[in-house]
Symmetry: C2
DNA sequence: CTTCGAAGTGCATTATACGGCTCTTTTTTA
DNA sequence: TAAAAAAGAGCCGTATAATGCACTTCGAAG
């Protein structure tokens, strides 16, 4: 599972912006408990939760084709 | 919410590969009911569910900084 | 040592995602 | 046109994500 990368992205981005978990929780509307749990590597967040956090951090969730060779 | 885009990505990719919901469900280990629900726009899948589906379709979930050129 | 801010954890509750089964609707094929 | 395949939806039990509250841990500062 590469959840860890996603989680780390969030956490690193948050720290980069010097935002505390508490502030991010408030800004995103995600519960502090949820964020803590999430950042400490426990949990399987819903897309909604992830999006809320990403949004505040100026990021976005996306899906990419891994290989390529398919033009769209 | 831009869930719709993610959902559409999955659905389009699945159709592109000419895989039925049933087959994708089996291959990914996600319940057929869940996939149906998900593709029909209802639901808030967990990262795990999304990942399972994306994986089988040769895609991956990612987080990108929205703006650009800030950092890699 | 004490205090404070930030982060992490345990417990309990509520909300909801997951999934199987069945039925209906839509789309495709003959 | 009918039949089959695929997709969508209702019911409903189970698993777990989301959340609040209180406590602990850790580091920095006093």
């Amino acid at each position: 599972m590469h959840f860890e990368e996603l989680i780390k992205s969030i956490k690193e981005r948050r720290e980069e912006l010097q935002v505390t978990q508490e502030t991010l929780a408030e800004l995103s509307g995600v519960g502090l408990r949820t964020l803590k749990q999430f950042e400490s590597g426990k949990g399987n967040p819903t897309l909604l939760t992830l999006s809320k956090l990403a949004d505040v951090l100026g990021m976005e969730v996306g899906l990419q084709v891994k290989n390529l060779s398919r033009n769209e």
